[in-house]
Subunit: 338 residues, 6 copies
């Protein structure tokens, strides 16, 4: 069977304070497996696709537990490599009310960040694969990450595998390598069929200031510039989030083709359970629509619904399936299904 997608990026172990506690306020931590690309793979697997993850993990109990967790959700983990290096971690304090959530990364020198670019045999890895998904986090974590990401997208282009790229700019991860970021990210975008990124991402990569006061206009112009600059680009997608508090927000999605814009209405998010991974759930939704040949409007509706629903699931993964998304979109008022 043909594989729908291969996701390349770091798998992280997330350690979070229970409930609404501050980090180490009492003596327990909850462990979840995450990472932007793994999140996309799990979500697509739950949508019924054959999804695989390629990454480097420590050859110890932590690395193997992460692989087990991906496998549990149906992801093909055969491409995972094990190395003698540390596990990438992040510590999470959930937010509450007007207190934002807080992420404390502890991923330097991880098995993934230190894996040499020639660790991955892309030709073999990409065989019988429809899409490759990469994010801007990979080039941010290390020089090796940047080299690996570039090799991956070049190999995919050569092998006629479609490329999905989530810009995911994180200044803290780039650190002193920040000045190289625009160059590297836009080089990757040259190969992408699909980019997840809004006007700020595009402005950052292409080096201009996006200053139109009208947000909608600003995004359309940025998208136009991206379609102009990046030759393989067919789709740009992003969400717009409005925040009232950590618990109550609003989400709307947009999908641009070179010629058209497809937008959803803003959906209210109430009683948010776990906001981490919502962007990845949206990304998985877009990819699901494209893989299934849905209409652009149907695709962005599905993806935004998936992104909204992710806010109701503890952990980084969106574990909900196609029927859950469809129920959401049907807007039937149900509070108990029995």
């Amino acid at each position: 069977m043909t594989r729908s997608i291969l996701c390349f990026g770091e798998v992280l172990l997330r350690l979070s304070a229970p409930g609404k506690q501050l980090l180490l306020q009492t003596g327990g931590l909850e462990a979840h497996v995450g990472g932007a690309e793994a999140n996309v793979a799990v979500s697509l697997s739950r949508f019924g696709h054959k999804a695989a993850v390629v990454t480097s993990l420590p050859d110890n109990a932590l690395g193997h537990a992460c692989v087990g967790e991906l496998r549990r959700h149906g992801v093909d983990t055969d491409p995972v490599r094990f190395r003698d290096a540390r596990m990438g971690l992040y510590f999470l304090t959930h937010g509450a009310g007007q207190r934002p959530a807080e992420v404390l990364y502890d991923r330097a020198q991880s098995a993934f960040a230190t894996a040499p670019a020639d660790s991955y045999d892309w030709e073999t890895l990409l065989k019988d694969t429809q899409w490759l998904h990469v994010s801007g986090i990979t080039p941010a974590v290390s020089t090796e990450g940047a080299d690996s990401a570039l090799r991956a997208v070049k190999a995919a282009r050569a092998a006629n595998v479609k490329i999905s790229f989530d810009c995911n700019f994180r200044a803290r991860l780039w650190g002193s390598r920040s000045p190289q970021a625009p160059g590297i990210l836009s080089e990757i975008c040259q190969y992408a069929d699909l980019i997840f990124g809004d006007d700020r991402d595009i402005a950052f990569m292409l080096g201009f200031k996006s200053d139109d006061a009208n947000a909608t206009e600003r995004r359309r112009r940025a998208a136009a510039m991206a379609f102009e600059t990046f030759r393989s680009l067919k789709w740009i997608a992003y969400t717009e989030r409005t925040r009232h508090s950590v618990d109550t927000q609003q989400l709307a999605g947009t999908l641009h083709s070179a010629k058209e814009v497809f937008t959803t209405r803003p959906y209210p998010l109430q009683g948010i359970v776990d906001r981490i991974g919502a962007g990845d759930a949206f990304a998985a939704g877009i990819l699901h629509g494209l893989l299934k040949g849905m209409t652009p409007q149907g695709t962005v509706d599905f993806a935004t619904a998936a992104g909204c629903l992710k806010h109701t699931v503890p952990g980084d993964f969106n574990l909900l399936g196609v029927s859950d998304v469809e129920l959401f979109l049907s807007e039937v008022q149900t509070d108990v299904r029995r």
Copy 2:
């Protein structure tokens, strides 16, 4: 002392995923005891009434634990029968945001569903009892359940015990026996003094389509038809729920006598903790009002307040007392009582 009420129906063990997790997302389940009729009994017991439950339960650790839990809340469990059969279970995933809660029944072949109709000696059981409470779930679970429910209401009528019936139509439980449902349910209603059910329930039983666009009008007409059809009927009661999300809703109550309608204002429900059993808490509130000789308006106000407050209590049971309901109705703005 005279017993206020005897509740007849299946006692279930509910196994729910902790917090906002999906079912079996991690390795724990929370156990609660529930069941529509047991919920009514517990609530009335906490309101100070002498309430009893008659049911069939497995003669094992699970069945005895359920009885212990009912007894803990003051319910008289002497009428409970133990049999060599399985425990009725249901698995619950709590909802969140726009993701509805999900109930997975596992109650087929339970000690209750398989108990022969002659298991219960109604003449003895109904002695010194003011009300019998039955719900539409009992005839739905099995032929034996349907026969038992009919015998119960006939015996009650013969013994001059008032009858309260909660329609509670659940298509999934009736399964292939669905076509018999209207006949059985309306036969039971022939004996009832009090019915919990709205226009959809009445339409279903009496076989017409309730299609007036105006909901209030639709409900009044359905009630009128019920009062006409069911000769013993004195009261019809129901709630109307408006949903914004799983966490934020609105509840209003209505009580019809043959001639008048008594309605409450819609009460906002915020930060809903556990929605299961709210209808039963409302039913207990109506029965409390009738038992105490409160005015119809006072009765529906009390019942709706009880139904609202149930949403704040984990588990199926409404454990709050009369003073909690009165504080709610007083609308004094208190966030900490000390």
Copy 3:
């Protein structure tokens, strides 16, 4: 180094039902350390001040655990005295929706309440100290408490230590000693530089009925009367809370100098986690502003933000720091900091 503040009052062990459960609904309790004055000390310590607590605690595992918890948050506990008496407790049921939280005090005969007034050598204790903080709870718990509080404020006045007094009138604690309350509280106020209390507190102490229909006007008049009556008084501060439900409220702060009033806008409180100690967090914020020489408006803004943020932290203590408060005031919409 000079000590910013010495807080005098009872340290309590709080035992609360987990999550939204009723007290002892299931078999667990969560333990936190609290007490109005200790809360102020911890908050000021987390804001970077040298804060100490003086109290009497049982010389057993409970008393020593409380001291350990204060020390954990940087509070100087050297002034704590240990006695052979019981620990002051309170049991807390968190509220939900329209069900208010409930506090059950079990603090009679505690080590603090029974400590003789000559237990504390104020001259030594107040050395090198800028502020003494006392609350109206201390005179309420016992005659010894009242005597001790009066000795403390007199000694502070003599030693040129500024005095902060939180009225905190609790009728249930005064019990049969209630008639003495106005006299004792207003005697303490005679020594105070700063009072936390609104028009109801002042009316209660000064024996008039505050009946102006306009709340703002009523508060200004009460404040004016307080400034007239209490000769040392320089500041009065309080918050105004609007409640929609236990989870959703609004908070605004006010700071009066003898001549001016400084008010904040009402801040929405959504998804409230733990409301206990919010007043103490506000008090600590005012004291922080005064200690740092902030403007009155800056002070009340900071204090109100601190009070709001406390609602997001489990337990009695506000564990958040100056940068958290500043982020809140910046009103930057952040839901995840990474």
Copy 4:
């Protein structure tokens, strides 16, 4: 139906550190209901007897939760009185290895300790009752307790109700009233049919030093003296415990009639889960044997087995039934029953 036993004594709320943690080492406590006499009542109820508890409890959430827990295990709690006073508590740190468990009492001024001796109408309470069970803890907690205990046993004697008395001498509870202890305890013993107590208890009550080097001989002599002194006495029972560590011990039981001694072999106790209440489980076992008319040897075997099995059940109550005790005595080697 005739009631097998009425147990009179304080019901306590036990708050214990989880697992093997020290008290408040982390932020949780486990709550159990206990108290020597309540433990006997619960155990007899689980053995199939009609057992009741008479006590005084606070009229608040804690008191009512305790009553609910007794009722859950089938105990008749109708005789319980509610008062406006505090709940008796004790804090427990479980032991481990060579670190003994530690009990911290917080029961002074409790609803039970302060209940006037005329709170209980013994004539009514003892109607249709076979046995009254009292322990030496009740006279120890307060003068009121001592008076109440004496009134109870005198009323029982008058009403021809058999009396069971567990000496349970606890110096810490008697405090400054210790000198009165021997007199009060031996006055109660004058009415008892059955005493739980070994040579140390008897020596303490009768004021001699039990100094025979041979323990068996010492116990027989003490028993002989008790039978001589206490005119109603028919049975004396006690256990002998040998300790290797908190987790590994040995237990043997003895039952004396006026003329004979019945002893069990020492049973090994391995992997002890909860040692609290083992003596009460033994007492319930003896009472079960006497109520059922078992032979003295059968009675002490049953009781010792019950005492051993209690060590495997978390909490103060022995929740195991007659069939569990019989399986233990059968000495069939079973590690999983399926």
Copy 5:
């Protein structure tokens, strides 16, 4: 890659009381996935083999969660079939001291028990497979189970796939079908290369009484008779368990070939954590030895060590790997590996 083993049998969801609690003593249950054959598959997967499970599971959240858990541990679940029927459950109370563990089965009418014998296409399922593993539980659960098991072993014999059979006689599961048990079990044994069963199993199947007083002799004779009767049989294996308490036991293993007997020394089991699945871990160890071509002595040593180590792992699965077993066998005294 050739598959080492295909395991056919029911996958169960186990719901256990936490720690040493009795079932539903408090409100939580721990969920684990188990089932004799699934346990063997997981253990072999952790030993590095390609293992698959074929079974029927409900097409709902419970069934899919079970499959996810198997997949997590590396088991190939592609052969699993989903049906519209209930999940097989069992409730477990862990034992303690002299209180045995207790299993309460709730597996009647499960998706597996009701799956028609033609549900499984054995020809396809057994392709490229070295061993088929079946247990005596499958024919016990239902007529369909018995038919399916027979079809499976016949198909395996035809396809030259080796057959491993664990007798696992459970009278409670056979119920009224018990008289058929010996015939069905011995028919299956006619096809087996490897049987797990001791003298009692063989005596039961072949209809004689194994009454030699000397246990070793009894077992040898029974084995000899089995080798004589069952023509394909090459190996018989079993463990001998000695019990001091639930926590402290001893385990020895034996492996018979037609001509020789290989036995291990008895290994002490101290501080037993979870005894369920130990027999399956032993079975997996024997299969590992045979698959790897280890010597018979090496095989039974490895298997017994694996069986011992299982007692230290919570849940039904033995999650330990080859290196853990080898460390155990090396008998190096290590209490902390760092």
Copy 6:
């Protein structure tokens, strides 16, 4: 007040699997603070000494939480330095039966390991200090650690502060720097007054093979050689552990002066709760004896008892006090203190 001891070394955050679970078997981790030298400081603080820790920790929520935890137990943390680097972690799987515990270090590149040797101003830090405690872990973690340790002991010698050194050789931490270990460790020993280490440590440092078959003789010879080689050395101490299983062991202690040997009887360890930190608890016990001027035999008895008791306390710290140790040594058989 003079400070009893300054402990220099890395403070670690330990993340352990709950109970007897394998690492990440389910989704929770328990967090404790530890580290060999911090453990000594906490234990001495609980014994009533003024103990301080000097270390480098990350300037984030994790580092500050560790400091809070040390402070909670009375340790002076003023000397702690905060840096912008990662937290040193270790993951712990508790052992069970014959399955050893497993430590997975994740401490490379930590704030401590990367702190330059000139980070610490020893002259100031050692003022008014009686003892400096260092362990062999510090030179093992990095070159900076080795330099810092040497500077520390030299400064202590110069300032007349006594030096305690725990050899604690860990090959895995030294890694490729292992060849330098003997030289560095023995250079530190040149300054030590007290060394914790047995014959293997001494043999390793001084480069000979300790091959006498008689263990006692081997240890005496090694000690003699150490006293000869290390000029400042006055005491050598170590424990000898015998293992039956992870749960059941035996511990004996030895203290050598230059001329005499003091030994304890072997104490049985049953029901071990947490073995980590037992060596540090022993070390703290020796230091307590020396600080208090106890006899050598009293000192080693106290220290061994402290080491034994540590096995009963969850976490790395020995939280028990002097009276607990004295109760242990009294060998009074108590299983419940009340």
